[in-house]
Symmetry: C2
Subunit: 348 residues, 2 copies
DNA sequence: CGCTGTTGTCAAAGCGCTTTGGAATGCCGT
DNA sequence: ACGGCATTCCAAAGCGCTTTGACAACAGCG
């Protein structure tokens, strides 16, 4: 059933039927009701491509997932982010489109999205320092918003980020207050802007407290359970093990926990662990009592809000960019406790 | 830059340019080269919507994510599945489109996808018993493949599934061989077809060994860490705690582990845990030595293959449905060991 | 009664591509 | 020199929608 058939059936012109369905005022309420009823009865819905061709936009948002050198890694927060964004998209009648691309083809992927007209806008994930995507999108004129920030970018842009620096200052500060001095940082890949900020927050807190920042106690990698396990393990097995860990993700933190476990160390007693928590739906930080002491912020909510910002931007491309800096919430868990001097020496 | 402009620029008709770019034989190699060069130079790529309108298909695959009563849960395997599928789609020039929908609007979402012509086919996730989606899609004529199976469905369809029953027979059998008799099952929601099969495998192995299947030792819920923790905790705190667990997902298994931990029980020694493992990229079952004794199968690979099957099906809708039953691989981890009679009694 | 405004409707022109059915060109053999 | 046959190209007709500009019909006004 297409517009032509429907209009013939109704003995009306295509124009009138189209206007009736799209809520234009030039059509009488009587005919509008008749048209809407017929459309429902015959399960008519306009062809998306034809509609898009005529209007010049696709009502579709793009998300480009680029697979970097690390190869086959999937960002674990991806699902929750998309769930949040999807909710907003659905509300506004937008679809979401995913494109997977090898890192070197990234620029071309965005150009294609634009020139093929597949999407009305895109969300930039995992921004890096001086991220080349932002000037590119600016140049080709594809509306976008950024999940996070890209320091070093000259052009203004819309973004939503959590206050990573402050969050890590607080996590580190919490451990310092508990008397810890040898604190390790298990970070994400430090190419990524958020990881840089987290590190800066960590270092600032350490320096403010006059605690030494030991490069041997800083590891950065893909935020997997394995990274947490391996990096923490190495540090714990070293000559001068840390008494506490600041971790970039609850998934890594699980790995750190496992590393402690393997060495007979009790988390929260022998060694403390404080982590960032994205509030992933399948990995809540305890349903009743928090497992980890953490700074938390829902990545799902970020997706929903960021989607809202993008749609706004698509509607009015000339509007000034909007930015959001979300503060994160501290929760006290069982994973941190007072420093016991040198308990980890005894271990191994 | 569109086709018209490009053809004017080349002093050729739109027909010729189009044919040259699409590899039709009616155009001489000389002009084809000229056209291709010009297209690249001017970064021309055809408008996807116009192309779709003209050809009648969208080169796009749909994935409908329906949010069920459980509300805000995001399937943790989703990301890895999409990564695998996305790889295949990219290879064949397909895009992927996600639609998020409340459970009650599911049928309408599929109808819309079809009548709006947004996608050429869809992947069905998390099939249930007598899943209503299959007859629906059959009726409206939208090509589809199923990740898993839906028992009780009359119409034939293409699917790819792991042998859940056999996997759980093996996991359970392994524990039985180690002398365990009171074995608990931490399952996914048993509406879902795969969970039913897993339970059947568990029960079959128990019955074959003459071990009692205790309803108090079977829990089914959303496969989160919290479910594993809470369900295992209750069982461990009961009068007659289990000596071993069979778990439906590595994420749940982490929760079970935490529950053991909280009670001072050592996994693999005091209590055994055997789990299914989807080989999630951010949560590998140990990089060197496996953490858990598990039956494993890559959900990412499943995504890639299933995508291949769907594209095949789209190309030839009349072809007979294809089915794949993947056997899973057993890995021995440190999480299982011989049954110690009644060690869990002492605990709590 | 003619004039201006409003209201409800429509025919037709795109949107940018593919594809059908010709048509022009060049080359061959006879 | 001419018909026949490839080869190479093209004009135009869609695909299903939106939107422009025009047009009846009817009201209200002086």
């Amino acid at each position: 059933m297409n517009l032509k058939e429907l209009s013939e059936l109704l003995q009306l012109s295509q124009t009138t039927v189209s206007r009736a369905l799209n809520g234009y005022p030039e059509v009488s309420e009587a005919t509008r009701a008749r048209v809407v009823a017929a459309a429902q009865a015959h399960k008519y819905s306009p062809n998306a491509r034809a509609q898009g061709l005529a209007t010049g936009h696709s009502r579709c948002i793009g998300h480009v997932i680029s697979v970097r050198d690390s190869g086959e890694m999937v960002n674990p927060i991806f699902g929750d982010f998309m769930a949040g964004a999807g909710e907003t998209y659905a509300k506004h009648g937008y679809e979401m489109m995913l494109t997977r691309v090898e890192a070197q083809g990234e620029a071309e992927a965005y150009r294609n999205l634009k020139s093929r007209g597949s999407v009305d806008g895109v969300v930039i994930h995992a921004p890096r320092k001086n991220d080349s995507r932002l000037p590119l999108l600016h140049e080709i004129g594809l509306p976008f918003v950024v999940h996070g920030r890209a320091s070093g970018t000259a052009v203004p842009y819309s973004w939503l980020d959590v206050n990573n620096r402050s969050a890590f200052e607080q996590l580190t500060g919490h451990l310092l207050e508990l008397g810890h001095r040898r604190i390790a940082l298990i970070n994400g890949i430090e190419d990524l802007d958020f990881a840089t900020r987290r590190r800066a927050g960590f270092e600032a807190a350490m320096q403010a407290a006059g605690a030494a920042v030991d490069p041997a106690l800083m590891a950065a990698n893909e935020m997997t359970e394995g990274h947490g396990y391996a990096s923490a393990g190495e540090m714990l097995d070293s000559d001068r093990p840390p008494t506490a860990f600041v971790v970039s993700s609850i998934i890594c933190a699980l790995g750190v926990h496992r590393a402690l476990d393997a060495r007979g160390l009790r988390m929260g007693q022998d060694v403390s662990v404080a982590t960032f928590d994205d509030c992933l739906s399948y990995l809540r930080n305890g349903d009743d009592a928090p497992i980890f002491t953490a700074m938390q912020s829902s990545v799902r909510a970020a997706g929903a809000t960021l989607a809202e910002m993008l749609i706004e931007r698509i509607r009015d491309a000339s509007a000034a960019p909007r930015t959001c800096l979300w503060e994160t919430e501290f929760v006290q868990g069982a994973s941190t406790g007072p420093c016991r001097d040198g308990p980890t020496q005894a271990a191994v």
